[in-house]
Subunit: 409 residues, 2 copies
């Protein structure tokens, strides 16, 4: 599939052909060269044509059309000299100057997959292919890596940007709800190890995050719902009014109402940015963003990445964390019911897969990153809606009871 | 080979047997568990017995003997909240409390090789083995990685520490002159790519650097001389009095005079610390530490890592950079002579290997990290002894002439 003169769906195997072309000006007024590393499995691209074309800055006319574009909502991530903006809106990829102000140097490596589907199986291999491509193309320290895709692309490309020549500029263009509301914001990058998720990586902040809500038009329903799990998470851990809004507006989100989505993404990014600003490297507070993730990662590791989508595993994991919180006497039963209801509205699972056993959970949870000095710390709800704790100080029996309640022993 | 109850020379292949034992107390008063990942090729350890035993904190009696130990010289690397001390002296590895105050958490992974020889061929593979070992041992974010060995071990272990769970504590115990005067200080970590040296890595600062000069007792002459190339470098780029001191004291260094070495290491670390403090991430100034390295890396890449030691390649590279500086009219002929003389005194090469051609230099230099927007920037001497510039603004003919003067076309 060829668009506007450049093949974007070429397999990684064909990257020996350099995709390079002149494009718009970088912030120093120099012409930037674009190197397109398309990482695909088998299927042709499902990215909307305008995403690829505009991102690559192929149409000079776009430079003057920007005033027609929607004015983006902006969320600032406040991290001192590593601060950056998140732009949110419809049609932002038709405004190349938004990107260009954040491009350093005169060469850009675009890392994308040609489906928005995850590449769980070969993330480490694709990382090496990004390095190969960058080195063969003689990219230098003043080049920019652009991640165009879902969370897996962003995580992997970010870690590649962090490690290539000990760090080059990096821009996130997330194309899934999951990546737009969570993974593209905050600088967590990494790849999986066969024994656990995201065990190898770096904290590395992008120059900017560009969220064009038009990319959601082609997102499969299941991917969209998966991202909503993280949206629901923000309500539960720190934003009760947002949770209440979701209870009333879940149908609008499922029917892809634009205004509902811009609001959801913006509010999610605000929540995430506030937490990240206070605890960039997850010494404590930031861990609350992992509500349900310890259980969820156990599901993903045990069943194999890709068996369930990340948000589906997190949804089931949140129900388990909420169940455990209730067993500990830390929350009212009404919260348990509301969480189950809103997840069902979002068409997300509320139980782990049938195949999961207590032992599978236990052995996967034994390598969780949140273990400190041998104690597994969990994010649990405590108090009224919107309040949580990150703690290793809980009755082990409640954890055991939850595991037994949700799976075969 | 077994020492004090722990096998330290086991091959990486035997790391399924967990080497773990109780040792001294960490700074929180907890007992730390030591996991020993010994990365060896074929030969048994050449590290002095006391290094391994004391580092592992095996002998409780050492805790009370510390007052007998030499008082270390200390160089502070001033990097704000990433600042750390360098301890330099004889017998420091017999003072385990020096290390213990920098160990966080209760588990330590010691990464070492059993010869001090480089592991150029399988650095990426050994990186993966460090991750495997860390994950299999269920190390968490509060563990500490200790690099005990030469520069390759330090670079690789540091990158592993930077990437494992997005960053764990890290301590450098360099055991070669090269690592003690240069690579262990300043936070550059990384691994090689088949197409170039240290192209993949991170800036990641250790908690401390512990330099026990006793480790030099068993260092081969050739390794020792290799390290002196970096010492000579500091004189040339920014410390003329140190260069003059070296001209007078090279014999003392070659005969391993302790006082001469402590002085040399301290002064080298001071020079490096000053530069790193001003430019941690090599936006400009820090690059001066790479005098001769662009030519040197070309030699290492073209001839194969390990054909020459790093310092040997750097020595020849410095002569080439000095030659080019002279051709540009930037320095007096007397400096050219003095550089040649001091390198010969140190028994270091003053020409690249016979096999190097002009084209080999050119193609290797085309992927140098110091290229910016397509222009190769070099560190060249300019002005009186001890003055240099980092620039891409030079007559290309001088570079060509230097290449042709030193190798077959």
């Amino acid at each position: 599939m060829t668009m506007t003169g450049i093949a974007v769906s070429r397999s990684i195997l064909s990257t020996k052909h350099n995709f390079s072309l002149p494009t718009g000006l970088d912030k120093n007024g120099k012409r930037a060269r674009i190197l397109h590393l398309s990482i695909c499995r088998t299927s042709p691209t499902k990215l909307p044509m305008k995403v690829s074309a505009a991102t690559l800055g192929l149409e000079a006319s776009k430079l003057t059309k920007s005033s027609c574009g929607a004015f983006p909502a902006i969320v600032d991530v406040d991290l001192g000299d590593r601060s950056y903006p998140i732009y949110i809106g419809s049609g932002l990829l038709d405004q190349p100057e938004l990107l260009q102000r954040h491009i350093h140097g005169n060469r850009v490596l675009v890392v994308t997959n040609t489906t928005v589907a995850p590449l769980y199986l070969d993330k480490a291999n694709t990382l090496m292919k990004v390095f190969d491509k960058a080195i063969e193309s003689q990219l230098d320290r003043r080049s920019t890596f652009v991640a165009l895709g879902g969370g897996v692309i962003g995580d992997m490309c970010g870690y590649a940007a962090a490690s290539f020549l000990r760090g080059v500029n990096f821009i996130q263009i997330p194309t899934t709800v999951m990546a737009q509301v969570d993974s593209s914001v905050g600088g967590k990058t990494g790849i999986n190890h066969r024994l656990g998720k995201n065990l190898i990586g770096a904290f590395y902040q992008p120059q900017c995050v560009l969220i064009d809500t038009d990319t959601l038009n082609t997102l499969p329903d299941r991917e969209l719902a998966s991202g909503l799990a993280e949206v629901i998470k923000y309500g539960l851990i720190r934003d009760a009014p947002f949770f209440e809004w979701q209870e009333k507006n879940m149908q609008a989100l499922l029917s892809r109402d634009l205004n509902a989505f811009v609001y959801t993404i913006k509010r999610s990014c605000e929540n995430k940015a506030e937490v990240v600003s206070q605890d960039e490297k997850e010494h404590g507070l930031r861990a609350i963003g992992n509500l349900g993730h310890t259980f969820g990662h156990a599901i993903e590791t045990s069943c194999g990445y890709g068996y369930w989508l990340h948000g589906e595993a997190v949804a089931a994991g949140m129900v388990m964390a909420v169940d455990m919180s209730y067993r500990l006497g830390w929350i009212d039963e009404s919260i348990v019911e509301r969480v189950n209801n809103v997840l069902k509205q979002a068409k997300l699972p509320t139980r782990p897969p049938e195949m999961m056993t207590v032992d599978m959970f236990k052995s996967a949870m034994a390598v969780d990153k949140k273990i400190a000095d041998g104690v597994l710390r969990l994010i649990l709800l405590k108090g009224p809606l919107g309040s949580c704790v990150f703690t290793g100080d809980y009755d082990r029996k409640a954890l055991d009871d939850t595991l037994h309640a949700f799976c075969k022993s």
